[in-house]
């Protein structure tokens, strides 16, 4: 079973992919702040951001269809928030929707042009607490293991179940499955800890940065900052 829906295209080799992760984290954060600060009635600025997003998508070599598909999955949640703000009128709703789409495109681009491991490395070098970053890494690593375990349990249940049980019975089975999953995860965590200790873990989780800062990074950072600066100044 393969699952790589979080960062499926992150191992491509486009100019965007080869940038250092800190550059991308910073540049995309600047862009997102830029998007959020676009005034509701500034159509030209909206279009310039859409254009910029299109350029980035082009550079990234990630298939447009994939980005669209990801967006369709995430968009309803954000639209819900937009609908919940009716006092802004049609224009407000439109602006909110476009902002949401732009932010989603940027985030999809960020997570699909940077390997998760590099993203974590970037966060760490920005001074995020080590324990948070390590746990994000474990989450990424073990999410799939956990899903597989849950799937196997579901299959085992389906194999022994004939017909449908009453709802209370179903709930009882479900809760005991969740309990089993929790205990198994707990035991796995203990074994993992033993494995970490065996390889010399003593409280510090060292990593080697996979990429180095180059002039590409400076150009990209300068470019995005200039663009965002210009859109704010043009108001």
């Amino acid at each position: 079973m393969r699952h790589n829906f979080i960062d499926r295209y992150s191992s491509l080799d486009s100019p965007l992919h080869t940038l250092e992760s800190r550059t991308k984290l910073l540049a995309f954060a600047i862009l997102i702040v830029g998007v959020l600060s676009i005034p509701t009635d500034a159509e030209a600025i909206f279009f310039s951001y859409l254009f910029a997003a299109a350029v980035l998508m082009g550079i990234s070599q990630i298939p447009l269809g994939y980005i669209m598909k990801r967006m369709v999955v995430l968009l309803p949640f954000i639209m819900l928030a937009a609908v919940a703000a009716p006092w802004k009128g049609y224009a407000g709703f439109g602006a909110l929707a476009v902002r949401a789409v732009l932010c989603l495109i940027l985030l999809i681009l960020l997570t699909n042009t940077t390997r998760f491991a590099e993203l974590l490395c970037g966060l760490r070098r920005f001074g995020f607490p080590q324990i948070v970053v390590i746990n994000l890494g474990f989450l990424y690593r073990y999410l799939f293991v956990l899903m597989e375990e849950a799937m196997r349990m579901k299959q085992a249940r389906d194999c022994r179940r004939v017909g449908r049980a009453p709802l209370t019975e179903e709930l009882r089975i479900l809760s005991s499955m969740l309990g089993t999953l929790l205990i198994r995860s707990f035991e796995r965590a203990e074994r993992m800890h033993s494995a970490m200790l065996s390889r010399g873990y003593s409280g510090d989780f060292p990593v080697v940065a996979p990429r180095r800062f180059s002039w590409h990074d400076i150009v990209f950072l300068a470019g995005t900052s200039a663009f965002v600066g210009a859109t704010i100044w043009a108001r």
């Binding site: 073990y142 799939f144 033993s194 065996s198 010399g200 873990y201 003593s202 990593v207 080697v208």
Partner: protein, 260 residues
């Protein structure tokens, strides 16, 4: 000093011990006696198999080799008494391969997993890529696998990456827990070839008696936390009564030999 550092084997020759365990007892927090009066000396370079039924205490014994668990009496690893103060030093000498690679590979990428051990040992960052690639090569893996995530690998690959992660620390003693479990015949054969080439003191807990015959010269039979037999692998594995008493079976190649 000599007397402490060296023992004598049956021919009176001087030998150095990689592992010396005397009268080791260990109980789990719930009171289960997992190890009882374990005596085990392993010479440097020896390849020892620990066989026995599930729940015999084999894995528990392995976890004692680098102090993840500590029992009643001190263990000597390469002439060092295993103590809290030298745990890091001992862990750099004793590599443990766990049964489930998912427990052993906890980093987002294969590269980071293999680099984890050496980095903890204080190997400088610029030497890490060379270390990682050497370990990958030793385990018959491509360098390009380094950037992949462990959850995208097959079990055979994951097992070999786990081994690479252990070998990257350049241990003198390698403990393995069921290294061939769930492997298909091709991957099992590959692993046997790979392990046979390693120049380490080997201690393997396993049910795979064919693996024992191929790799190990000495076999220890463990059951219910005790050692019941210790000696030449061929002799022990062909002892039908001993094998069946402890929930094991004489492996096929040895059965064929005893046939008239």
């Amino acid at each position: 000093m000599w007397a402490r550092r060296f023992g004598r084997d049956e021919r009176g020759k001087m030998t150095e011990y990689a592992i010396r365990i005397t009268r080791l007892n260990y109980s789990y927090p719930d009171g289960t006696r997992a190890l009882q009066e374990i005596d085990l000396d392993v010479r440097t370079g020896e390849r020892v198999a620990i066989v026995g039924p599930s729940g015999a205490g084999k894995s528990t014994l392995l976890l004692h080799l680098n102090g993840v668990l500590t029992g009643s009496s001190p263990i000597k690893i390469a002439n060092l008494n295993l103590e809290r103060s030298n745990l890091q030093q001992i862990r750099s000498k004793v590599g443990l391969l766990f049964q489930d690679p998912n427990d052993q590979l906890f980093c987002p990428t294969v590269f980071e997993d293999i680099a984890f051990g050496p980095l903890n040992l204080g190997v400088p960052a610029e030497e890490i890529p060379a270390r990682v690639n050497k370990a990958l090569r030793e385990c018959g893996l491509e360098q390009s696998i380094g950037s992949r995530s462990s959850h995208h690998l097959s079990l055979g690959e994951r097992r070999r990456v786990s081994l690479a992660a252990v070998l990257a620390m350049e241990p003198a003693i390698l403990g393995m827990d069921e290294p061939t479990s769930n492997l298909d015949p091709r991957n099992r054969k590959r692993l046997i070839e790979l392990v046979s080439r390693l120049e380490v003191t080997l201690i393997v807990a396993t049910h795979d008696l064919g693996f024992v015959l191929d790799v190990c010269s000495r076999t220890v039979v463990m059951d219910r936390g005790k050692i019941w037999a210790d000696g030449d692998a061929q002799t022990i594995l062909s002892d039908t009564r001993l094998m069946e008493e402890h929930g094991l079976e004489v492996p096929l190649p040895l059965k064929a030999e005893t046939r008239p």
